[in-house]
Amino acid sequence: MLRIPCPFCGDRDEAEFRCGGELPREIPQPGVDDDAWSDYLFNRDNPKGLVHERWCHSFGCNQWFNVVRDTVTHRIHAVYRPGEPRPALDGPCATAAKSGG
């Protein structure tokens, strides 16, 4: 079970949250073609390593926030609020080398 640091409530068990999946890139401007729109809706990077994803603290404050999680180690590297810029973090190889467990 993950321990997830809700920005409003602090560390809580994964069972208090609902995962909203990988954060999409920017929502397209109105008027883009079908390919661009469907790419936004259905395609995700699905990286091996650091992923930016959305979580909702459903059993707590009910707020959505963003998490940077390593899909190999499950370690959570950063948490940021909707609308805030993505934190600049090292790539997955560098992080795995430093983390040491």
Binding site: R3, C9, R12, E16, G60, C61
Partner: protein, 173 residues
């Protein structure tokens, strides 16, 4: 001698409950105007406010009806986008008190129930025994559990079972 603790279930009309939501932009002003609870805390006596989120509080009235609390919000938050709704029929409130209360609650939740982490005046919207619950620390070893009304018996039974397990675990082998 095994511990027993008193589990009391209180529902309306013992308590009036009002769910207050404000717009994010108005939350700071609303907190100042009505002395609403800061994060993870309760504030006030009657009405008491329980923090449910950065823009959401549960107002608890013990000697006043929900309508009075709603009126107080309307006047106190005039000009701020908000809604205040009577939720007295939505929740059951279970009160537990006793030496093993923290241990029993810890069996159903990943929260830190130690006194230094969760003392009187603390408020935790969380998950307890698989259901959504707002846990309020009402005293040194006293807690109030706000749950959806239909879960009152389930939670009462769970607390009894959990206490029996805690007592059995404490018996000398």
């Amino acid at each position: 001698m095994p511990d027993r603790f008193d589990i009391r279930i209180e529902t309306a009309p013992d308590r009036s409950l009002v769910s207050l939501r404000v717009s994010r932009q108005a939350a700071g002003d609303a907190v100042r105007r009505l002395d609403l609870a800061p994060p993870l805390c309760t504030a006030g006596e009657d009405p008491q406010s329980l923090w449910l989120g950065p823009d959401h509080w549960l107002l608890v009235g013990r000697r006043q009806p929900a309508s009075a609390m709603i009126e107080r919000c309307a006047t106190g938050l005039a000009g701020l986008l908000h809604n205040a709704v009577d939720q007295s029929a939505a929740y059951s409130v279970l009160r537990i008190e006793g030496r093993r209360a923290r241990e029993v609650l810890a069996a159903g939740s990943g929260l830190d129930f130690r006194e230094q982490s969760f003392s009187r005046g603390g408020c935790r919207p969380t998950r307890l025994a698989q259901i959504a619950a707002v846990i309020v620390a009402a005293g040194t070893d006293a807690f109030e559990l706000y749950v959806d009304r239909g879960y009152a018996k389930y939670l009462h039974d769970w607390l009894e079972d959990s206490l029996a397990i805690a007592n059995a675990a404490a018996e000398p082998m």
